[in-house]
């Protein structure tokens, strides 16, 4: 018997203990329920609150020019999204946001209400905010606004080289130019990270991470300064002469690097295209537009003649007194000549002379040679929409095709193909593939320099030197006088091809071209200027542009002059009767005209044969014989003036031309 059972205080105390124990039991039961039975649910809830998945953005690679100037850069920007379900008053939110972001308030209000009706918790308001807009929005500090980090592509130089660099769409995918062709390398791979966060959603620990792979940086062979100059000059000449469009290509003939490539009309890649046709206009005309080259093609015809026939630069070519008839065709020359040495056919751009040369070559050999020069095939440059041009095979030709093709008709070429083919003369006989990419960034760091361009031997070094000599005559005595550059020897060829209208009829508009290089003894730059729809001839409108571009190119690239101060003779002698087979001096600017040389009194020792020797042997031999020698170019001796066996005049120097 419990003696204290009847004590009220003890009874009260015992009831108190029982209630307490009961309450403790409830608490314990609840604890067990939460910790054991609801463990998984709460674990998931905790994870959802404490852990956060983040996408790690992979910035798009930067595009540089050859000097490190940034041409295309991706910068991070913020975009605004809202949670419509958290909005208390959509109308007020729409009013505030439309005021800051300069949007249509009614439209925004409608979108928010629509999203709420559909139960959506996410709605984009504006992508890629301006810095001022971002600052204003962040000052509001609302819980229904969500800022997402994105990327925006910027082109700081605007139209500079726009057709080469290209542009991107709203998803930062390339849609033209290098941005399109190198899209895979430029685009990175986004990563992912799962983080543990605190109550303020600050990251505490990274639980899982897949690192982002940023896009590769790419450097082009383009020089931004030269590109800017070419763009500006081209725009000016196209607008002044009311041409349809124009292109300029400047190239290093030794390694194929494209130093500048202009196309006009152009565009601002910072602005999106407004239509499909505007998107098509973003192709680079120097690779996508193929035109009749006209008389520039005579250089390739004559080179083929030197390569495949017995014709030489001093071979006499009948020029039909300016008239040629074949079938129902009549072809005229601008000036009538009875006959001209082959080199003067080039100087004076005689159509009939070129036709007769082409007739001598024959269509099969002409086609084969032109194909070797790269016509009718793509150059492989990494730009979209490249045109192969038209080069008919012998099977596709009619009997008159060889005449037309000899003078640059019935064939179409792009400006880049002309530059590639012209480089063959400039670099000693190799067709070098044009190169646009200088280096790409490696994933592990460092740079992958692009492999040297493929080189294919097309003509011998001797023929290349002969062509350079002849083309220098075009600039000094022929149709290309306006292409002269002070202080430098220049060689080249003018071209003027009549264009057709939409009905296929010839109109009084021309495709005016100048193609050339300099300095002649060892060209550092090749440039081709093409103006489509010009009312003037190539020698009038394209040659001055070429002169401007070459002068600036020499200055920017630091190419020193190779002529003494003072211009070469302005007025060339009239074409003489076919001269005897005496070789013309290479540097005609320093030598008197041909007639004076033939009248000179020749006294002195006989000139040895230096051909095939290297420079050291030439110096040694000349020192032993006591003969002054001027050495031009690099490699092995290919030609010399005066020729071997001739007598060296008093005070005369032997010029030896070297090529690889």
């Amino acid at each position: 018997m419990d003696p204290y059972a009847s004590v009220p205080e003890v009874r009260r105390l015992r009831w108190l203990v029982r209630i307490g124990l009961g309450w403790a039991a409830l608490v314990a039961a609840r604890l067990i329920h939460l910790q054991v039975f609801e463990h998984e649910n709460f674990l998931k809830l905790a994870e959802s609150q404490q852990e956060r998945g983040i996408e790690l953005a992979a910035p798009r690679g930067t595009i540089f020019d050859r000097t490190g100037e940034r041409l295309a850069v991706s910068v991070p920007v913020d975009s605004l999204a809202i949670n419509p379900k958290k909005l208390k008053d959509p109308a007020i939110a729409a009013a505030v946001l439309s005021d800051i972001l300069r949007l249509d308030e009614r439209e925004l209000n409608r979108k928010i209400r629509e999203a709420r009706r559909q139960g959506r918790g996410f709605l984009w308001v504006k992508r890629r905010l301006e810095p001022s807009e971002l600052t204003s929005l962040m000052a509001l500090k609302t819980e229904w606004m969500d800022f997402r980090r994105e990327s925006r592509r910027e082109y700081p130089h605007k139209e500079l080289g726009a057709a080469v660099i290209g542009s991107v769409n709203h998803l930062e995918a390339g849609n033209s130019g290098v941005e399109l062709t190198q899209h895979r390398d430029l685009t990175g791979t986004p990563g992912y990270a799962r983080m543990l966060t605190d109550v303020r959603h600050r990251g505490v620990e990274v639980l899982e991470e897949v690192p982002a792979r940023p896009g590769k940086d790419i450097a082009l062979t383009i020089d931004a300064q030269l590109q800017f100059h070419c763009d500006r000059v081209l725009k000016q000449v196209v607008e002044e002469n009311s041409c349809h469009n124009g292109t300029i290509v400047v190239m290093n003939p030794r390694n194929g690097e494209v130093l500048a490539m202009s196309s006009y009309p152009t565009f601002d890649p910072n602005l999106p295209p407004r239509s499909e046709s505007e998107m098509k206009n973003r192709l680079h005309l120097a690779v996508s537009q193929a035109l009749d080259p006209g008389s520039v093609f005579k250089m390739f015809t004559i080179a083929t003649a030197l390569r495949c026939t017995r014709l030489r630069p001093d071979s006499i070519i009948p020029c039909g007194n300016g008239l040629f008839r074949f079938a129902n065709m009549v072809i005229h020359d601008t000036h009538s000549y009875g006959a001209l040495p082959m080199e003067q056919v080039l100087w004076h751009s005689s159509n009939i002379g070129a036709i007769n040369i082409g007739k001598t070559i024959g269509i099969d050999k002409l086609y084969e040679s032109l194909h070797d020069f790269g016509f009718g095939t793509k150059t492989g440059i990494p730009l979209p929409g490249e045109n192969t041009g038209i080069l008919k095979t012998p099977g596709q030709c009619w009997p008159g095709s060889v005449y037309w093709m000899s003078i640059g008709h019935e064939v179409t070429t792009t400006t880049l193909q002309l530059a590639q083919a012209c480089s063959v003369f400039a670099n000693g006989g190799f067709r070098v593939k044009p190169k646009l990419i200088l280096w790409k960034q490696r994933e592990a760091g460092g740079r992958d320099t692009a492999a040297p361009s493929e080189r294919t031997r097309v003509i011998s070094p001797e023929i290349a030197i002969e062509m350079r000599k002849m083309s220098e005559g075009v600039v000094l005595y022929g149709t290309g006088k306006r292409a002269r550059v002070k202080g430098y020897t220049i060689g080249g060829k003018t071209g003027t091809a009549q264009t057709l209208d939409e009905h296929g009829d010839y109109v009084k508009r021309y495709s005016s071209t100048f193609m050339g290089y300099g300095p002649v003894h060892d060209p550092a730059i090749v440039a081709v200027v093409t103006l489509n729809g010009s009312k003037k001839f190539g020698g009038i409108v394209a040659a001055p542009v070429f002169q401007n571009v070459m002068a600036e190119g020499f200055r920017i690239l630091g190419e020193e002059p190779n002529l003494p101060a003072g211009n070469p003779p302005k007025d060339a002698p009239a074409p003489t009767a076919p001269s005897p087979a005496a070789e013309q001096p290479m540097l005609l600017a320093q030598a008197p005209p041909p007639a004076e040389i033939t009248n000179a009194v020749l006294l002195g020792p006989k000139v040895p044969d230096f051909r095939g020797m290297n420079k050291r042997d030439v110096v040694k031999t000349s020192v032993e014989l006591g003969m002054p020698v001027e050495m031009l170019g690099n490699g092995l001796a290919r030609t010399q003036q005066p020729p071997a066996g001739s007598v060296l005049a008093s005070g005369e120097r032997i010029r030896v031309h070297f090529a690889r």
Binding site: P59, E69, R70, V73, S74, V75, P76, E154, P156, H157, K158, L160, M195, L196, D198, R202, G203, V204, E205, A224, Q225, F228, H229, V485, K486, G487, A551, E552, F554, R555, E560, P561, N562, L563, P564, A565
Partner: protein, 175 residues
Amino acid sequence: MATMASVLLTEEETRASQLDDYGRRDVRVDPQVRAFPNEDILFWRKPSIDNGRVVRQADPKVWEACWRFFSAASVVVVVVVGLLLPNAYGLLSGIRLQQLQDTNDKLREEKKRLELVESRLTSPERLEELSLDLELEPVTPERVHYLRGVGGIEEARLDQGPLAKPANDATEPRP
């Protein structure tokens, strides 16, 4: 204790136990304490209880109990802190690390924006506009003089050409 005794007194006894002139209780009034009901035990109180010489002495057992409690509590605190501190430190370090990484990312982004601004400011078009505004002479190939010549160009000499000093220049030579 003193208050307990006064609770047990009746009113009469309370009045009787009023303090005398010297502030002392008069114990000559009935010292017997009122008996408990139904109890045969009687209590007498002391005439006066003088606690003036009572000295509070520390209870060694309480002292020991206190020290035991303090020690145990200290051990518990040290153990708990020792267990939680690395975790807390890790947490704070993680926050700091993430803040630094965020700062690093922001600085990289800022650098990219500044590089973009730099490219815009140094673009050939802008430089040309500036040169026109400042009325500078354009750079043309004719104005470039090469000091080392090829092709027969003479070296630039200080007594000739654009670098030549005027004949009547009285400037003192530099030491």
